[in-house]
């Protein structure tokens, strides 16, 4: 039941989207943040074989079944999280990058992130003035159960506040910002540790960027919570 083969014809030079029939799992092992349970990871492997050629390409990725929900609490103004339906008390650390010269080795990511897990943290927040972190960073957050709050590249100081007051209209090229945002989302979206996208640090992005990010990152209607309370939303 966890194996599916489909046939598809692709025209010369064409670029297509293809959606597999959904795969059914009965009570899969869930992925939990650090301190709430194990970080169960499944390996998803996709291959394409071409008639007359053989195996043409292959792709694999660790995948964790988890549902992350969050909302702003009206009483406190704080953001409350649930993972797999369970409330979680967030113990978070701020993160910029592991090295100012961007020597971002797997070994260093592993050590840094495991250190955060050993400190009993369950979330790392990637600050808007730093990096969209790399897949290796997310890989170890997947392994050690660190949820990631990933911000895009807007800060209060450079984008509307600061001394002297900076330009609130963000980068000069808004289309470039959105192109980079969309590409980053595609790069990172399959990691179970990825919990929340945020426009920036201490500042709201310019209205057109903010609106586009909100639109692009909203749930596909297929996944939006329905009246059926058993139907679940995903991030």
């Amino acid at each position: 039941e966890h194996l599916e083969t489909q046939h598809v014809s692709i025209s010369p030079g064409a670029n297509i989207h293809y959606t597999f029939p959904q795969l059914y799992f009965y009570k899969p092992n869930l992925w939990w943040p650090n301190g709430m349970g194990k970080q169960h990871l499944y390996n998803v492997e996709i291959t394409v074989d071409v008639q007359g050629y053989g195996e043409s390409d292959t792709w694999s990725h660790h995948f964790g079944f988890r549902k992350i929900e969050s909302h702003i609490d009206s009483a406190t103004g704080g953001r409350l999280f649930k993972v797999n339906g369970q409330p979680i008390f967030i113990r978070g650390g701020n993160w910029i990058l592991s090295d100012g010269l961007l020597r971002l080795s797997k070994e260093r990511y592993k050590t840094d992130i495991r250190f955060h897990a050993d400190m009993n943290f369950n979330m790392m927040r990637c600050w808007g003035g730093g990096l969209a972190e790399r897949p290796e960073f997310y890989h170890y957050c997947d392994l050690y159960g660190l949820l990631v709050w990933q911000e895009f590249w807007i800060t209060g100081d450079c984008d509307g506040r600061g001394d002297p007051v900076s330009n609130p209209n963000g980068p000069l090229d808004h289309d470039l910002f959105l192109l980079c945002a969309r590409d980053t989302i595609k790069l990172l979206r399959n990691h179970p540790s990825l919990a929340l996208w945020v426009g920036g640090n201490e500042q709201v992005p310019p209205p057109d960027i903010n609106a586009a990010l909100k639109n692009d990152l909203q749930l596909h209607p297929y996944f939006v919570k329905s009246n059926d309370s058993d139907t679940s939303a995903i991030t």
Binding site: H2, Y42, N43, G85, L101, R189
Partner: protein, 262 residues
């Protein structure tokens, strides 16, 4: 013939300041490649930054020791050309019939020109974007392929005020790049503004059809008893004929070491 899959290009890179290299990208990747780390060429850190390469070669001190950062010239004073660098490497890749190969940069700060065996490609601006170039028709079928990348710093590296401050003069905010590089209350200014090939470089070999950016998502029902995995992929047919494809998705879990449940 190479197997399908990814080959990471993270060794054997050389680098040189662009103003000290007298040949152009076409010459570098055809008739006049650098052969060893002789001046102005040096061993490069890829992935990494120009400053990382200069530190590795002991041409500047490590900026994170003591006040050593003060002795490294800032891009605002040196000009952007001081931190505009060539990066060079070679690789072998012998393809069989109907194989295709892409050259991939997972991130460059901030823009670049790529030369491969004399062919030029411009990589547009943006620190947080991937670049992928189909190089199938450019590869040398036998022997070495010569790759040179001219990397330009951010367009608006800014100037650090004498009193420092959050994000310096905020000019870096005009670009789509990391902003901490102009200095913050927790960080000294990064003199090259993190210019460089700062993430993985690779080539990927595929057959006629390539998988691009799969998307996995799950839905949950009945108190997490009934769960569905949804998978969407992009497929690119690089061939000149209709490709009849068999797509396979398989989910496995490692029960114990080397024992898998499918």
């Amino acid at each position: 013939m190479v197997e399908i899959g990814k080959i990471v290009l993270d060794t054997g890179w050389l680098a040189a300041r662009s103003t000290e290299v007298e040949v152009n990208g076409v010459e570098l990747t055809t008739t006049r490649p650098p052969t060893q780390p002789e001046s102005p060429w040096m061993e490069a850190v890829v992935p990494g930054t120009v400053l990382g390469t200069l530190v590795k070669n002991k041409l500047v001190p490590d900026p994170f020791y003591g006040l050593e950062n003060e002795s490294i010239i800032d891009i605002a004073d040196s000009g952007r050309e001081h931190y505009t660098f060539w990066f060079f490497t070679t690789f072998d890749c012998k393809l069989s019939n109907n194989q295709h190969v892409d050259l991939n940069f997972r991130a460059i700060n901030y823009s670049a020109e790529v030369y491969l065996n004399g062919h030029k490609e411009v990589l547009p601006k943006g620190m947080f974007r991937r670049h992928s170039i189909d190089i199938t028709d450019i590869l040398h079928p036998d022997g070495q392929n010569l790759l040179a990348v001219l990397v330009y710093p951010p367009d608006h590296p800014g100037r650090i005020p004498p009193q420092g401050g959050q994000g310096g003069d905020h000019e870096i905010g005009k670009d789509v790049a990391a902003q901490y590089v102009e200095g913050w209350d927790w960080m000294t200014p990064i003199r090259d503004r993190n210019t460089g090939i700062w993430d993985e470089v690779s080539i990927t070999v595929t057959g006629p059809v390539k998988i691009v950016d799969p998307h996995l998502a799950s839905t949950f029902f009945d108190g997490y008893k009934r769960v569905y995995l949804h998978s969407t992929i992009e497929l690119v047919n690089k061939s000149a004929w209709v490709a009849e494809c068999s797509l396979n998705i398989q989910v496995s879990t490692e029960l114990e070491e080397n024992t898998f449940l499918i």
